[in-house]
């Protein structure tokens, strides 16, 4: 081991613990996704609601902002007090952090829908639900997508810390590396897949974001 440089060590680690890294990768990704999906399920309706009731928007976004300012390690510990150790604590934390970008982007997206299009839709006899379903959501989808993209990248970072409360994931590998003497390769073995996951998620969601952008719509 000593005669290998750090990249050779890293390769060696992957070669011998490949399946383990993969399963942690999988776990890490799922924890992040669960948190973001729950945040989207809650956050998008909240965003739509505050776009319709503008007076509430200051309060709601303010609260989400406060949540965001709590350091993630502190948040994990606080939630651990209530939910104990384990994966649920991390999912709830991810959920809380993902709320702000999703609510904020949904709200912005809804407000940016062209007023003329809304006027035309209403004037042609759309019900409020139809306006939402046929105009507002399709037209703000790309902005909402951008929020989800932000949230997911954020979530992947938070999940890495989640191994402190015993949730597993790639964070486990990183922590093992920090605890070992000369564990640089092990740290990399956890950190590189985490970064890779964030980059891939970002670009995949970025693709959808562009795809949903109504201004890019052409027949070709």
């Amino acid at each position: 081991m000593q005669n290998m440089n750090i990249f050779q060590q890293l390769f060696y680690y992957f070669a011998h613990n490949g399946m383990y890294v993969l399963s942690q990768f999988d776990r890490h990704f799922l924890i992040s996704i669960y948190g973001v999906v729950f945040a989207a399920i809650v956050g998008i309706p909240i965003g739509i609601f505050i776009a319709k009731h503008r007076k509430l928007s200051g309060w709601v976004i303010g609260i989400a902002n406060v949540i965001q300012t709590v350091p993630s390690l502190a948040m994990l510990s606080l939630i651990m007090l209530a939910l104990g150790l384990g994966v649920n604590t991390v999912i709830v934390t991810v959920f809380l952090y993902a709320l702000l970008p999703i609510i904020k982007n949904t709200y912005t997206g809804m407000l940016n829908v062209n007023a003329d299009v809304l006027d035309a839709g209403k004037g042609m006899g759309m019900t409020r639900v139809q306006i939402l379903r046929l105009i507002e959501i399709p037209l703000s989808l790309s902005v909402i997508m951008a929020g989800i993209r932000n949230a997911l990248v954020l979530a992947i970072g938070i999940t890495a810390i989640g191994s402190f409360v015993g949730a597993g994931g790639l964070g486990d590998i990183i922590i093992r590396g920090t605890n070992a003497t000369n564990g640089g390769a092990i740290i990399l073995a956890g950190a590189l897949p985490t970064a890779l996951m964030a980059i891939i998620s970002d670009s995949v969601l970025g693709f959808f974001e562009r795809k949903f952008d109504p201004t890019n719509k052409t027949s070709q």
Binding site: N114, D116, V117, L118, D119, A120, G121, K122, G123, M124, G125, M126, T127, Q130, L134, I135, P138, L139, P214, T215, K217, T218, S219
Partner: protein
């Protein structure tokens, strides 16, 4: 007729608005006691300065705004009692900034209301094809997205979107305000055409007087929420209700409108005439002193009975006959209250050099010569050139004035020559 029907509680009227008032929160009165009865097939233009309440009034018709007081009835039914969503699906709606759905194809945009009304897909597709033909756009456009169309094309789609579900009333809120003049004109023609073909009722809000005058069957002029004048374009040009209306129309248009509303009597010049019982010698003397080759002949009451030319006079000279005996009684004349616009073609095509004008009793009151007509045609065309000039900035006007006048002149001359040739051929 309108009066009688309006007393019958708006029955028989497609749309009736009574004592409509809109006060915005904060106390600003946008519309003040607005009354209007609209028959099916009318093309109504609301015109006024900004803030005159024209758009507000229009938007109350499809309940995009609720009136503070007063009633609007469609086919006798109070719209306040109707479901606003169902109401709006029966009323076409075209706005200034088009408002096409950017995420839907043109086909989906056109058939949006039919879709809301749950028409089957085949019927919707058929309707989309029908509609796009109406506005002279190719069928391939159906699969495109709005961003791939030009502004004018988008508004064409906007117009047919409002017609696609057989709406009876079409509301248009300054639909062509954002378009360039050439596109605007072609769309105005299109809309006028569509309206005449379909017989639908249009309520059209504009601040462009030319647009209102050329499109409308009736114009509603509004100022500070009040109706100032409601009348046909012709009557508004002829009798502006007050200075505000006259200013809104503009002095240019009032002058320009003259040929279209001037009567023959107003432009007729004094006729050279002789009485039936005068001798040929007297007639010849008259011709000589007035330097003319034709005399109009009247009886003793001054009624026009015929005319006599120098050839005929020469032929019978010295035969002792009276003018009444030799005159040609087959005379073409026009009545003094006929409008020049309707008469000018007839006069020119017959190839006469001058045409007598008579009043209701048949009395000769003057003549219209070809020179008079040339003046009128010239005025109309020159006026046009003048107007396009005044649309430019004030500074350039001076320099551009002359070439334009020249252009106007040659054009008017060409027109006259053309018409004469037509007349000769016949």
């Amino acid at each position: 007729m309108i009066q009688i029907l309006s007393e019958g509680d708006g029955k028989g009227m497609l749309l009736s608005m009574e004592h409509l008032t809109k006060v915005y929160p904060g106390g600003k009165t946008a519309v003040d006691d607005f009354n209007l009865e609209v028959e099916k097939g009318e093309f109504i233009c609301f015109i006024g300065t900004s803030g005159s309440g024209k758009t507000t009034t229009m938007r109350m018709i499809n309940r995009m705004l609720e009136q503070s007081s007063g009633t609007i009835k469609i086919n006798g039914e109070d719209i306040a009692q109707m479901n606003p969503v169902k109401l709006r699906r029966k009323i076409g709606y075209v706005i200034q900034n088009v408002g096409l759905m950017p995420h839907m194809t043109i086909r989906d945009n056109i058939t949006l209301v039919p879709k809301l009304l749950k028409w089957p897909v085949e019927k919707r597709n058929e309707r989309a094809k029908e509609m796009i033909k109406l506005v002279e756009l190719p069928e391939e456009f159906l699969d495109r997205y709005p961003s791939e169309l030009s502004g004018g094309q988008q508004q064409r789609i906007g117009v047919i979107r409002a017609l696609a579900a057989d709406q009876d009333i079409i509301l248009m809120d300054e639909p062509f305000g954002a378009l360039d003049p050439i596109t605007r004109e072609s769309l105005q023609d299109l809309v006028k055409d569509l309206q005449e073909k379909s017989g639908k009722t249009f309520i059209f809000v504009t601040h462009d007087m030319d647009e209102a005058l050329s499109l409308a069957t009736r114009v509603v002029i509004m100022s500070y929420g009040k109706q100032v004048q409601v009348d046909t374009p012709d009557n508004i040009l002829r009798h502006p209700a007050n200075k505000f209306v006259a200013d809104l129309i503009g002095q240019d248009r009032l002058i320009q409108a003259r040929p279209s509303i001037t009567t023959v009597g107003q432009v007729a010049t004094k006729a050279i005439s002789a009485r039936e019982d005068q001798t040929l010698k007297q007639a010849l003397g008259e011709m000589h002193t007035k330097r003319v080759d034709t005399l109009l002949v009247t009886n003793n009451e001054g009624k026009l009975t015929g005319f006599v030319g120098i050839e005929r006079l020469n032929h019978y000279y010295g035969s002792g006959k009276r003018i009444g005996d030799i005159m040609d009684s087959n005379v073409f004349y026009v009545r003094k209250d006929s409008v020049i616009r309707d008469t000018v073609d007839r006069i020119l095509k017959r190839g006469f050099r001058n045409v007598p004008v008579i009043d209701d009793d048949g009395k000769l009151i003057g003549i219209v010569t070809r020179a008079t007509l040339v003046d009128i045609v010239y005025d109309a065309l020159w006026g046009e050139a003048d107007k396009s000039n005044s649309n430019d900035s004030g500074q350039t006007k001076e320099t551009e004035d002359n070439p334009d006048k020249e252009a106007g002149k040659t054009e008017s001359q060409a027109e006259v020559t053309q018409t004469t040739e037509d007349g000769d051929q016949k």
